[in-house]
């Protein structure tokens, strides 16, 4: 009920963003039902058809066709599937690993804290996409490699916030009380420390989703991400580069889908942060 109330008070831009996100997620989940055509079906007579045109062989194309006569609308819909999968799975991977490391660092302290924070330092001196490229050179770029890899993006952010939570909890009365009652460290961390550190971590997660989506697109754009024929927004934009003069829609349509998604996520993430942080709300 409370959630509904907050939603009704949200400004129109947030409502619009939420609607857009809902649409993208539905497109991703129900791609086979929503997409008008098979995203890999080619129509070599109807190549590079402009948006809204009809090909004699393959029918109406809302967003046009690409260089192989494939329906761009259908490919954008299936591309949403890749982006949303990475956004969700990737965020969960980084969140779980980063939060656990951060909680341990903050709660246990000492050498373990130093070691984990040192890893955070190392991570920050190399851009994540470079680490991804190294890992892809080593392990290849199958989806089983890519999802955990891209998921690691932003782990250091979660780690730092979770560590702060762990540190604060270590000196608190309620942790002292449960220690006195004989709770194990694992119990204390999961039952008492984690719930108190969770709010900022959720905020970091929502803001990180954009980064995960853009990282996957960048890798696909470089030809090092999810491999063809699976349609992804990044690889579609890359394919469209050769046709910017004759068929701009090849690159622009998947780009527009990507921007609508990332912009909506950013807006919603920022809104969630404002809702959760009373000091910002007052400003």
């Amino acid at each position: 009920m409370r959630m509904w109330k907050t939603l009704r008070r949200a400004p129109w831009s947030i409502r619009l963003a939420l609607l857009a996100l809902l649409a993208v997620v539905l497109m991703a989940v129900f791609s086979p039902i929503v997409a008008p055509y098979n995203p890999e079906a080619q129509d070599l007579l109807g190549r590079l058809a402009s948006p809204g045109s009809t090909s004699t062989l393959s029918g109406y194309h809302l967003l046009g066709t690409d260089a192989l006569g494939r329906d761009i609308f259908s490919r954008v819909i299936y591309g949403a599937r890749v982006s949303i999968t990475f956004a969700v799975l990737g965020t969960v991977v980084g969140l779980v690993i980063g939060t656990l490391l951060g909680l341990i660092a903050g709660y246990v302290g000492g050498r373990i804290d130093h070691a984990i924070m040192f890893l955070v330092d190392v991570q920050q001196s190399i851009p994540f996409i470079v680490l991804c490229l190294v890992a892809i050179a080593i392990f290849g770029n199958s989806q089983t490699v890519l999802i955990p890899l891209i998921g690691l993006a932003g782990w250091e952010g979660y780690a730092r916030y979770a560590r702060a939570g762990g540190l604060a909890a270590r000196n608190s009365q309620y942790v002292l009380a449960s220690q006195a009652m004989g709770a194990s460290p694992a119990q204390i961390v999961l039952r008492h420390v984690l719930p108190n550190a969770v709010a900022p971590i959720i905020v970091v997660a929502t803001l990180n989703v954009t980064g995960v989506i853009l990282l996957e697109s960048s890798l696909s754009f470089l030809g090092l991400g999810v491999q063809p024929p699976t349609p992804t927004w990044g690889s579609m934009i890359s394919d469209g580069r050769q046709y910017l003069g004759s068929a701009w829609w090849m690159a622009v349509m998947p780009g527009a889908a990507m921007i609508i998604t990332t912009l909506s996520v950013t807006l919603v993430g920022d809104w969630i942060r404002d809702m959760m942080d009373p000091t910002i709300r007052q400003r």
Partner: protein, 304 residues
């Protein structure tokens, strides 16, 4: 001084750890020689080339040799270009430096004033506009902006060349695409940090003792608000380099980003190691410089 010395040693250890991780990771990846020579190579050829590159020796021996060489500035031979890695780097590094340094400077020159104006005129139309622009900046990746630029300025209007490196006209679009990526974060951080400083006690004191608004802004607000922005420079460099990898690809810019991409495609491990190391060194150096400047800007930092 002691503070900076500690940071310096830490940075060295960080770099050494990165080199080590990359080295052992690479050796896990399978046989670079087989990839280099293709499936048709005879076992004798493979053995010969492997010996030539020193890859027939045990891991640990290779590692010690490699570390010693790297310490002397020798990164070995590139597998795909068949010449010393340092030659490749010397050839390509200036192009990337030109792009990244120029973009970072421009982004700072636009981003800091924008953040400042937004904070000082909080909740005004211009503040809202700047915030809106930063949102779009965060959501739209540089490579897509680059594509839009090419479509408009190169393909449609024919004003600028769409790829390659040459006079200033070749720089405009790649630099603009990279500035795009940095601008949003700089403006946001500046704005938040200025807002915080504006609420600080010493600003109220300065105002109360009768200083003019602009005097307070210059002597008290800007100076203190820039500290968090300074902290971001290292991250910003890392971000710009990350952006450059993709943007160089779009504009066929002959820099390190393209080198890295090709090296990854061809599994040219010596080259990959050198590029990663170089990026690490750059970020570490910038962070060290930031630490030093810190002590000057804010004397409280660095005194235990």
């Amino acid at each position: 001084m002691r503070y900076i010395a500690i940071r310096f040693v830490r940075s060295l250890v960080t770099l050494w750890l990165v080199v080590t991780l990359v080295f052992f990771g690479m050796r896990l990846a399978g046989d670079p020689i087989r990839i280099m020579l293709g499936d048709t190579a005879s076992p004798a050829d493979i053995a010969r080339v492997r010996e030539a590159y020193g890859l027939d020796q045990p891991f640990v021996v290779q590692y010690v040799k490699y570390s010693a060489n790297v310490a002397q500035g020798d990164f070995g031979n590139s597998l795909s270009e068949r010449r010393p890695v340092t030659d490749v780097l010397r050839e390509r590094l200036p192009a990337t430096l030109q792009l990244t340094v120029l973009s970072m400077l421009i982004a700072l020159l636009i981003g800091i004033p924008a953040g400042l104006i937004a904070a000082v005129r909080r909740n005004s139309a211009i503040d809202r506009l700047i915030i809106a622009v930063t949102f779009v900046g965060q959501a739209v990746p540089g490579f897509f902006i680059a594509i839009l630029f090419i479509t408009l300025f190169a393909v449609t209007w024919g004003l600028l060349p769409s790829s390659g490196r040459g006079d200033w006209r070749y720089l405009v679009m790649p630099v603009a695409a990279l500035v795009w990526g940095d601008l949003a974060s700089i403006a946001r951080i500046t704005r938040v940090s200025v807002l915080e400083v504006l609420n600080a006690d010493y600003v109220r004191t300065a105002r109360a003792k009768g200083l003019r608004r602009n005097q307070v802004l210059i002597w008290h607000v800007i100076r203190n608000a820039l500290v968090p922005v300074l902290t971001m420079l290292g991250f910003m460099l890392a971000g710009t380099v990350a952006g450059a990898i993709v943007v160089e690809n779009v504009f066929a810019w002959p820099g390190m980003g393209r080198v890295l991409q090709n090296a990854v495609l061809k599994r040219d491990f010596p080259l990959i190691q050198a590029v990663v190391m170089l990026i690490g060194i750059a970020v570490v150096i910038v962070n060290l410089l930031v630490d030093m400047v810190y002590g000057i800007v804010d004397p409280r930092i660095g005194k235990p």
